[in-house]
Symmetry: C2
Subunit: 334 residues, 2 copies
C-alpha cells in the first residue's frame, strides 16, 4: 500500500475517534509491542477454536525486518490480512507521530462482568470514573504486572480503546480480561457476590495498608492476628485470632490481603463517590511517609495491587519463587 488517500487508510485512521470505534466495535493497536500482543492473543484464541482479535495488520517492510518475531507470528497466520505499507501510509493510519512500522485493527476485547466473576477471581482492579487516558493505561499495565485477574471500568471512565490508553498499556490490554461500562449501582454487591472483599483505595480511609500487610506477615509466622492455614489446608478453616479486631485499626478483623479482593480506584479530581466507599468492606489508605499531600491514582493503584499480589502469593516466610521480569528499557524494549 502506497496511497495515503486510500479509503482503507482513512477507515483505519478514523478508529482514533470514538464514534467510529463504537460503530465498528474495533480499535487500533499501534507499535510493535501492542501489535505483537494482539497477534499472540489472536493466535491463542484461534487455536482454542474461538474468534480472533486481529482484523487486519499493517506493517512496513523495514519494521518486519527489524522484528522477526512479529513477522513469524504473521507467517503463522496470526492476522487474516497483512498488508505491507509504506511509512507514509502507516503514519496516515496512526494517531501517533511514530507508529514504529506496525498498526493492527482489533476487535473489542472486553468481556461481560459475569464471565469474570464466574472464574472466581482473586485480584481485580476497578476504575471508578477514572478519566485520564494515561492513568487508565498505567493502572491496566500495573494490574497486569501484579497478576490481576481482570480490570473493570465503570460507565463514565475513559474509553480504554482510545489510542493513548492502548499505547500506555504497552500490550497489557491483551493480557487480562477487561470489563467496560459497568453501572455504579449494584457494583459493590456484584463484586461481593463474586466472593471478593471490596477495598476502596481512599487516602482518608481508616485502614492503613501497612497495617494490613503487617498483619498478613504476622499471620504467616504465627505471631499475629489469625493463624494462617498450613499448606494443603483450606484457608477458610484457619482459626481467626480474637485479637484481630484490635490489631488492624479500622477493621473488624475480616479484611485479609491474602483473600480474594477487588480494589476500587477513584476519579482524579473527586475520588470515590461516598455511596461506593460506604458500601465497600474497607476504606484503605496507602501511607504517605513524606510531605506529599496525596498520591497519584496510578501510584496508589500500583502500591495496593502489589501489596495484594505479594500477600496472595507468598505462603511462607523466606524467599519466594516469583521470577523477576524486565522493567522498561530491558533488551525487549530495544
Amino acid at each position: 500500500m502506497t496511497n495515503t488517500q486510500a479509503d482503507r487508510v482513512k477507515e483505519v485512521a478514523r478508529l482514533a475517534g470514538r464514534p467510529s470505534r463504537l460503530r465498528r466495535r474495533e480499535f487500533l493497536a499501534e507499535g510493535p509491542q501492542a501489535v505483537r500482543e494482539a497477534l499472540r492473543l489472536h493466535l491463542e484464541r484461534r487455536e482454542a477454536g474461538r474468534e480472533g482479535v486481529v482484523v487486519g495488520a499493517y506493517a512496513t517492510a523495514e519494521a518486519l525486518d527489524r522484528h522477526p518475531d512479529i513477522a513469524a507470528l504473521l507467517d503463522a497466520g496470526a492476522a487474516p490480512v497483512l498488508r505491507q505499507a509504506t511509512p507514509e501510509v502507516l503514519a496516515a493510519m496512526s494517531s501517533t507521530v511514530t507508529p514504529q512500522g506496525f498498526v493492527a485493527v482489533c476487535r473489542f476485547v472486553d468481556v461481560p462482568l459475569e464471565d469474570v466473576l464466574a472464574a472466581a477471581p482473586r485480584l481485580v482492579a476497578v476504575l471508578v470514573e477514572v478519566r485520564d487516558p494515561g492513568n487508565a493505561g498505567t493502572i491496566i499495565r500495573a494490574a497486569d504486572s501484579a497478576g490481576a485477574d481482570a480490570v473493570i471500568l465503570t460507565g463514565a471512565s475513559v474509553d480504554p480503546y482510545n489510542p493513548k490508553t492502548v499505547r500506555s498499556t504497552v500490550g497489557s490490554l491483551f493480557h487480562l480480561p477487561l470489563v467496560l461500562g459497568i453501572e455504579l449501582d449494584g457494583l459493590i454487591e456484584r463484586l461481593k457476590g463474586g466472593g471478593m472483599s471490596v477495598l476502596a483505595a481512599d487516602g482518608y480511609g481508616a485502614v492503613n495498608l501497612d497495617d494490613l500487610q503487617d498483619a498478613r506477615a504476622a499471620r504467616l509466622v504465627g505471631t499475629g492476628p489469625g493463624r494462617s492455614a498450613p499448606e494443603g489446608e483450606d484457608p477458610a478453616a484457619a482459626t481467626p485470632d480474637p485479637r484481630a479486631a484490635d490489631v488492624v485499626p479500622g477493621t473488624d478483623g475480616s479484611i485479609r490481603l491474602e483473600e480474594p479482593s477487588a480494589w476500587l480506584f477513584g476519579n482524579e479530581a473527586q475520588g470515590l463517590p461516598p455511596e461506593i466507599t460506604e458500601a465497600a468492606d474497607a476504606r484503605v489508605a496507602v501511607p504517605v511517609y513524606g510531605h506529599a499531600e496525596s498520591l497519584n491514582v496510578g501510584t496508589a493503584a500500583t502500591v495496593c495491587l502489589y501489596a495484594s499480589a505479594r500477600a496472595q502469593r507468598v505462603t511462607r516466610p523466606g524467599p519466594s519463587a516469583a521470577p523477576p521480569s524486565p522493567h522498561d528499557g530491558g533488551p525487549s524494549d530495544r
Copy 2:
C-alpha cells in the same frame, strides 16, 4: 494586571522555555497546589533566615477567594510581590490551558549532591537519563510519598523545571531536595561514599525484590537470614546469619532493604547503562506476576521506593504507626 501584552507577562511566559529558565535560574509553578507548596517552602526558608523561593506570585481575585489558605500564606508575606491579574493575563503567562488562577515565579530549588550526602540520607531516588517529563514528575511525587530524602537526576535526564514535570509533581518538587545535572562518571562511588547501598532497578536483575522483602520480614521475627538488632542496639552489631547468602538468591547477604539505600531508575528505552548496573551493589527486579513484558519506570520506582520505606520504618511485626494520607481525589483536591 489586565494587559496580556505587558512585558512582565511575556517574561513570565518565557519561563516555559529552557533557555529563559537557565538564564534567569527561575521557573514557573502553576495551579493552586504547586503555588501553595512553593509559598510554604518560601515562608519556611525566610523564617530560617534563608533566601526565599518565590520571586513573584500572580493570582485572580476569584482564585484567592476560592483558596483562602493560599491567600493567608500570601498575606503572611510569603511572596515579595503579589499581583492580582485577570484570568486572561494568567492564561497568557501560563503553559497550561487552565492555570486555575495561580502562577508563581520561583528560584531554582536544586542543591549540590554534597549537601544531600552530608545529611546521611536513608532513601534516595536516582533518575538516570529518564527523559519523559511525566515519568520524572511521577517518580519525584512517589519519592516524596515514600519519604525519600532526595531525588537525583543525572545530566541527560529531563529538566524537572519544565512546566509539565512541575505540574505532575503536584508540589512535591518543593518538598524534598533535588540534585541536578550529576555526571554518571563517579556517581555510584559518591553514593556508596554517602553510606548507602546502591540498588539498580533492573527487570533482568538477579535479585528479586520480593526476596529482599521476605528476608527483611523474616529478620524482624527472628526466623530468617540475619537477626535484626533489638531496639536501641546498633543495627551494625546484629549477627548476620551465615545462611543469608543462600536465602536471598543473587546477593551475598549484604543487601538489606532496611539499610540506607539509593535506588537507580533508568531511561525508558535503554534502561540503565551497563557500567552503572555493574558498579551497583545489586541489580534488583520487581517481580512481574502477570503477563506484562515490562514495568513502566514510574511503576517500578513506586514499588521499589515503597518497599524500602516499609522496610526502613516497620521495626516490629504488627501494625505500624504510620498515618494514612490522602490519595488523588481526597477533599484537599476538591
